[in-house]
């Protein structure tokens, strides 16, 4: 089974919204050794101009994850998860993620390419806040190894 080239350009329905919790931001911050008070202390965050604690940049992957699960589960995608390797990752922010944000992610398959028997799928997950304003776009390139 190989990756369906017709996936390119496909836009998936938005996934269920994600409510960013203060303790989840703190837990994630501890896990990635983020020690800035703005990641942990609401007072420090407010003093820096934020409504609540600010998530580390790669916290966006937690919000993105449900969209990648949606892609892998797509019946006609032809993506065998046991053959998937994470190739590249990028986060492009309009603003940082802050505790209290209600975020909604929508995945678009930006490209499907073949390279020496492997497939490269680039998936862009656009994350917006409750007002519909852009917060971050998370882009993953997945390398799907071909049949041996």
């Amino acid at each position: 089974m190989s990756v369906n080239p017709e996936l390119q350009g496909r836009v998936f329905p938005p996934v269920a919204s994600y409510l960013v919790g203060r303790e989840k931001v703190r837990e994630f911050s501890r896990a990635v050794f983020a020690t800035n008070p703005i990641n942990h202390d609401p007072e420090a965050a407010r003093a820096a101009g934020y409504a609540d604690v600010v998530a580390p940049p790669t916290f966006a992957v937690v919000v993105q994850e449900a969209t990648l699960a949606q892609l892998l589960a797509e019946p006609d995608a032809g993506i065998d998860f046991s053959r998937v390797v994470h190739g590249d990752q990028r986060f492009s922010f309009s603003r940082p993620i802050v505790a209290g944000d209600l975020l909604t992610a929508t995945l678009t398959v930006a490209s499907v390419k073949s390279l020496g028997g492997h497939s490269m799928v680039t998936a862009e997950s656009r994350v917006v806040d409750a007002a519909g304003a852009h917060v971050v776009t998370a882009t993953s390139t997945l390398v799907v190894r071909g049949d041996e």
């Binding site: 580390p56 940049p57 937690v62 994850e65 990028r90």
Partner: protein, 152 residues
Amino acid sequence: MSIESTTPRLDDLVVGAVVAEASFPLTRDSLVRYAGASGDFNPIHYRDDVAVSVGLPGVLAHGMFTMGLAVQPVVDWAGDPGRIVDYQVRFTRPVLVDPVAGAVVTVVAKVGAIDADAGIARIDLTVSFNEVTVLGKAQVRVRLAAAPLSDA
């Protein structure tokens, strides 16, 4: 001396200069903690038997964990996680985490480019384990002021 004066300014940066360095000793506990925090429970990141069964030499750190910690020295230098406007990496080599000895990941952050018009500095990361790089094209774009607020 104001707090603002410790925040790096775009004017003061020199391409090629090292702005931050750090090393992160990782253990299996670190991987379990990241699994819980991120929700990525792929067992290759905490079970040797599963890792070996899929052809890996042993338990690996999550690529997203390595990406997540590697940006922290830049956040500390910039003084505010909200200054990070873009961050990208390529996953090139795995970080093998020994059950007893763990693993040490080192990060060196250098100024890669300065875009004065946009107010953005590109910081390039060299992220290594056992003296080989594990991330490629690891670039962080940081929004910085040109001059301290007190001069405005």
